[in-house]
């Protein structure tokens, strides 16, 4: 594994790593870094490096430091094919690689966003619970009221029951007394009547009947006279 950016050089920093730079160092013609051209610019202007390159090439060829052999031809063919391929399909390959990267980043960031959303909803619910805690006193007041009402209702129910029971017992006593008096009255009346009827002897009965008949006759006479 190639050694990437040096990690753990400074204090252990738990913040996220700095993101990768957007573009690499500038390179001209794919081979020579831009710093070379900037290095030569103050002394030789814009064409300096190219003149240097041409002079160097001609020197190498003429002094046979670079020998032209079969590998030169092979290198020319290979380089031309490579450059043609890069020029034609470079942009497409770059777009494809960028798309792969984007997908990876999108997947990870969806996970991150979902985690953040879940935590935010958890925070809101927590706040709501804290708000609910404030209403605890109202809740307890209502409960206390309920309990007081229950006790009151129970007390009154029992009071009513006591009242009813006592009334029933007193009514019973009153009914008993009434019944006794009634019975005494009836008995007395019966006894008096029985005694009176017994006391009327047959002799007295005949006399009273005769007297009644005489009275009736007299009354009928007086009535006839009045008419």
């Amino acid at each position: 594994v190639l050694h990437s950016r040096p990690l753990h050089t400074t204090q252990q920093c738990l913040a996220p790593l700095p993101p990768l730079p957007e573009k690499g160092g500038q390179v001209r013609h794919g081979l020579i870094p831009e710093e070379f051209f900037q290095f030569l610019y103050p002394k030789t202007g814009v064409t300096g490096p190219y003149m240097l390159g041409t002079g160097l090439l001609l020197y190498l060829l003429s002094k046979e430091i670079y020998v032209v052999n079969h590998e030169t031809v092979a290198a020319v063919c290979i380089l031309s094919v490579i450059i043609y391929g890069i020029k034609k399909y470079g942009a497409d390959v770059a777009a494809f690689a960028d798309r792969l990267n984007e997908e990876k980043i999108a997947k990870v960031s969806t996970v991150k966003n979902e985690a953040i959303k879940d935590l935010e909803t958890a925070i809101e619910q927590e706040k709501k619970e804290q708000w609910r805690v404030e209403g605890r006193s109202y809740l307890f007041d209502a409960k206390r009221n309920n309990i007081a009402m229950l006790l009151e209702a129970n007390y009154r129910e029992r009071l009513l029951m006591v009242y009813n029971e006592v009334k029933k017992r007193l009514d019973y006593q009153v009914a008993m007394q009434n019944l006794k008096r009634q019975k005494e009255q009836d008995h007395m009346i019966q006894w008096v009547e029985k005694n009176v009827v017994q006391s009327i002897t047959p002799q007295q009965q005949k006399e009273s009947i005769a007297k009644c008949i005489l009275d009736l006759k007299a009354l009928s006479k007086s009535a006839q006279a009045a008419v």
Partner: protein
Amino acid sequence: GPLSERRLMDVRLGELPAWLATRDISLQGLLEGVQKAWSSYHDKYINVRRGGPAGISMLLAGYCLLSYGWNYQHISKISFLLSL
């Protein structure tokens, strides 16, 4: 700053031997220097979001030059050139 703490690109030509003297020439120092150069090259040209052909093409060109230099003695012999 002082000579020993400057990087190679900031050293003037006349100070080059003195600068070389201050460098850590032991084996470990050399390996560390090579490692640092390798990783700084990577950070500049390869570990970027939108790189291009520049990153590896420079490495391949360097490899080509190096192998040409290694084989120059063999290539320049007349027997090799006549055998093509």
